[in-house]
């Protein structure tokens, strides 16, 4: 069968083990262009590992197949090229502390895409405006709040015009009052048709923004479907007990 819209991200038999401990048990997953997928599940379920395999920050078993836009994700000289197409936002921001906010956003386009300084700066200022931190452009990351830093990190990832954005628990390291501002930016982003894969504990966000929710447990995809299916009528007992635990407290 010829699919007119091949998936943007294709994961086949993704297996990952630390020594004898298997973190991911042969995961199969397709993500379409423009789709917003939220991955939920208890800690240690392998959800972060899953998205870290998509840009090969985690090495995985050789027989596993991961591809982005048809390009295989595998170690070697082509890896940096694939990674340039896959933006990532980390739990701990990982901004470059020795550069201003503006330089943080400008660096990769200039070095990887060979964008001119003027063009990189213009685009960086645009993006900083989009995430609502134009005034902080000349400051250093250490001078910003956690929420502001995470918004810079989103701008930095967007500056590469990636085909997909991966979010690895983007609000887990934030003070509660700053979670909202980051989720707002992500919500706006989802509205613009950016493909997003979000590992999160924010069930409200997942229900509201996701096209599809994936529940993981023990290194397996237990259940996936539209937010209404997963949150209102989960089929699996493990999904039900997880949701009971996180929603009723």
């Amino acid at each position: 069968m010829d699919n007119p819209n091949p998936p943007l991200i294709s994961v086949r038999g993704l297996t990952k083990a630390y020594g004898t401990f298997t973190v991911l048990h042969g995961i199969d997953l397709d993500i379409a262009e423009g789709e917003v997928v939220c991955v939920i599940g208890p800690s240690g379920s392998g959800k972060s590992t899953l998205i870290r395999c998509i840009n090969h920050l985690e090495a995985f078993a050789e027989e596993s197949r991961v591809s982005v836009d048809g390009i295989p994700v595998q170690p070697g000289p082509g890896l940096a090229k694939v990674r340039a197409e896959v933006g990532m936002v980390f739990q701990s921001f990982n901004l470059f502390p020795h550069m201003t906010v503006l330089k943080n956003v400008m660096l990769a386009p200039m070095r990887v895409r060979k964008t001119s300084v003027e063009e990189a700066e213009r685009r960086a200022r645009d993006l900083l405006a989009r995430v609502g931190i134009s005034e902080q452009a000349e400051k250093y990351p250490g001078q910003l709040s956690g929420g502001q830093q995470q918004r810079v990190a989103i701008a930095r990832a967007l500056a590469m015009e990636p085909k997909v954005l991966l979010f690895d628990e983007p609000t887990s390291a934030l003070d509660p009052e700053m979670v909202g501002e980051v989720l707002d930016v992500m919500r706006k982003l989802a509205g613009t048709g950016v493909t997003m894969v979000v590992v999160t504990h924010e069930m409200g966000f997942a229900r509201q923004v996701a096209d599809r929710v994936i529940f993981m447990d023990g290194g397996r995809l237990v259940e996936m479907g539209a937010p209404a299916e997963i949150f209102d009528a989960p089929r699996e007992e493990r999904t039900r007990s997880f949701l009971r635990a996180v929603l009723n407290h």
């Binding site: 840009n55 920050l57 940096a80 090229k81 694939v82 990674r83 340039a84 197409e85 896959v86 933006g87 990532m88 980390f90 701990s92 990982n94 901004l95 470059f96 502390p97 020795h98 660096l107 990769a108 070095r111 990887v112 250490g142 930095r156 990832a157 590469m160």
Partner: protein, 223 residues
Amino acid sequence: MNLINTFLNIPVLIDSLPQLLWGLAVTLQIGITSILLGLAGGLSLAVARLYAPKVVKLLIRGYVDIFRSIPLLVLLIVVYYALPFVGIRLSPFLSAVTALSLVSAAYTAEIFRAGIEAIPNGQFEASAALGLSNRHTMIDVILPQAIRIVIPPLTNNCINVMKDTALASVVAMPDLLKQATQAQALSANPTPLIGAALIYIALLWPMVAIVGRLEKHFSRGTR
């Protein structure tokens, strides 16, 4: 005052001063050349150790450990007196620079390795996720942060190299110490030696003071 006449004889000091200053020039040449070569070599080794294949990593580790274990004087004598037996004849200057650079590169490599390892892994991951090459990750992200950490121990290493240049006098290099011992023999008075010691101190004391300042500065400035 017999003691002053013996150890700080001003006429003898003035007589030997030009000779001592020549010696200082030679000492500085050996020292600065070795420091620069050691820095370049050490940085290359440290970065190579991060990215090279396993065999090369092991070789580098072997190099670093061996050249930190061998006494510099022994290495210098091997280079100058033993290598000619296999047809490698280095001038006293090259012998001294070779021995000093080899050892300095080993220490510098360790200093840079520690500096690079002190950078949080998230910085490497963020660079990788953006598609930066290893080279740009090092030049733009890691080394600018590591430099804060490595400057005090690097300066310390420079001081050690400068001090160790005095060993070059063993291979007939007319450095500051050699000139001083010759002047001492000539004038039958130890004043030139005292003069040389004072010159070494005048040269290195500021550097020692700078290290202390830098260490304080950087330990306070950590965010």
